[in-house]
């Protein structure tokens, strides 16, 4: 429906690519979160699911650094272990949508014709669909499930990748090197994957970081609504909704997962913007 009409200037808005120290800091934070996601269960000082019922809703102390929640579970440990699900789902979505988006984008951008118009109609349709709404409705119809949401998000994010890849591929196709390869008799598949794709890949990688950030936010939102990660799981979105009522008692317990969501999403967005600027400027005019 809301197809962007080409004649209007659709120039990319200037991105706020960070440089120097700022991007170094972003990579350090991202590395830290990734480290927590992999080794979280080993690092957590306490069992994230152990309930200390004599210590319910306690404030920060030397034993529970961020206090405890309404079931007496250690918030600090839950926040650390929460990185696992927080990173895993979005990672699966980013990779899955990268694969689908690249294949469809290359195909549509190189072949054009009916393939292109079919793919683009699908992209247009998906584009105007509010993602979270689909997830909520699906959860209502077939029951809440984290991995169902991840699967749906792959399908809903892929058009985002496809559209961008297709655009970049269409810029590459008229270039002399493609023409030259064709003249020499290189097969279409070889041209697409070995000649065009390496020139397109940086844009696709940069875009994947943005998909990662947006699906992190979507999954956290779904869990916040109680329709994502199953109850009791250490998941940032779920922790936020469970501890929201404690804002008056132990605000740190509420703010910790909230901060983790914002920091992770911001860092992913900034790295994506940086990749886009850095890699595409190295590629020359793309």
């Amino acid at each position: 429906m809301a197809r962007q009409t080409e004649i209007v200037s659709t120039r990319k808005p200037r991105r706020y690519a960070p440089r120097g120290l700022a991007i170094g800091f972003c990579f350090v934070v991202a590395g830290g979160i990734l480290f927590l996601a992999i080794f979280g269960p080993l690092l957590a000082p306490q069992d994230p699911n152990a309930q200390h019922l004599q210590d319910v809703l306690a404030g920060p102390s030397s034993q529970h650094w961020l206090g405890t929640d309404s079931l007496g579970r250690d918030v600090f440990s839950r926040t650390i272990v929460g990185a696992q699900l927080g990173v895993l789902g979005p990672l699966v979505i980013a990779v899955g949508s990268f694969a689908i988006g690249n294949l469809l984008g290359l195909w549509a951008g190189y072949r054009r014709g009916w393939v292109d118009s079919l793919v683009m109609r699908w992209v247009d349709l998906m584009w105007s669909v509010p993602t979270l709404l689909v997830l909520v409705v699906a959860a209502g119809a077939v029951g809440a499930s984290y991995w169902l949401a991840v699967g749906l998000l792959v399908i809903l994010s892929a058009p985002f990748d496809t559209r961008i890849i297709r655009g970049v591929v269409m810029e590459q196709v008229p270039r002399p090197y493609v023409e030259a390869a064709r003249t020499v008799g290189v097969s279409g598949r070889r041209i697409v994957f070995l000649h065009i794709w390496p020139n397109v890949a940086p844009v696709a990688i940069a875009n994947s970081f943005l998909v990662f950030a947006s699906s992190l936010v979507a999954l956290a939102g779904l869990s916040f609504l109680g329709l994502g990660a199953p109850p009791g799981t250490p998941d940032w979105g779920l922790m936020l909704s469970e501890s929201q009522a404690m804002l008056f008692v132990n605000p740190v317990a509420t703010l910790a997962p909230a901060l983790m969501i914002v920091v992770t999403a911001t860092v992913a967005n900034l790295i994506g913007d940086w990749f886009d600027e850095y890699l595409t400027s190295r590629m020359g005019a793309t």
Partner: protein, 319 residues
Amino acid sequence: MDWKDWATFVSKRLAALVVLFVVLSFVTFALMYVSPGTVVDVLLAGRPRSAATVHALNVEYHLDKPFMVQYWMWVRDALRFNFGSSIQTTLPVTDEIKARLPTSLLLGVYAYVLTMVSGIGLGVLAAFRNKRAVDRVVVAGTVVGLSMPSFVAGVFLLFVFAVQLPWFPAFGKGDGGLDTLWHLTLPAVALAMTSAAYVLKHTRAAVLGVLQQDYVVFARARGLSNGRVIRVYVLRNALIPILTISGVLFSYLIVGGVLVEMTFSIQGIGQLLVQSATAKDLPMLQGVVLLVSAVIILVNLLTDVVYLIADPRLRLKHG
């Protein structure tokens, strides 16, 4: 572009709209069948099953008829705004939606006004102060704002303005009038944050682009005041790219609205959607889904018409 072109444009769009509605209603109706268990199971939802209740459901939902006939009857009722009755409350779905709609609309409009005023205002300011302190602060805020989901923003706002500084109520929609507006202020700010950051980013880029144009340089050289340059030369041209993002903006507001209503326990449509999804109240879910998607489709049509009015170049292309 004369009235004939307008008529063909609008009628083409309307035809596409009807097709979309048919597909959408079909998908919405099919939700009942996608749900695990038979339709009777879904509709009974925990109530005791007896021959009489099953028979009553069969009659009410025409379950003895073929699938397509059921669909047709459902659509016919839906066109009269009759979506059956809620499983949870056994009250008509339409009544519940009607009772909640005004609150959600008010929240949406409130947030939209905040988005536009702060997004465009700060965007223009940042562009004019390009690369100075104000610009850098605004840009940094935008980066965080774009990555901050509305429910997280809501929790932060609650912490600062309801817990630390008890200036605003923490939940509910108030008793109408100014009280409602006061209750909806924090939710509206939380809702507007991401979308304002988005508008700001695009406004800043668009204004920076326009400021480099010769006609702006010339207008300044002629000695026109900054205010006049902004109003007459910059804003009008910069607003077209901003219009193009209004579709995305709208879906932000809808999704964010659902989360914000849950964060602040506001009895609106978004809360209704989540509650009916959690309780598997399918008739309610169908009603809300149809309503929301109808609004989305109509707003998209409206945006397309507004583009045409705002940008003469588009009219040439279509004409």
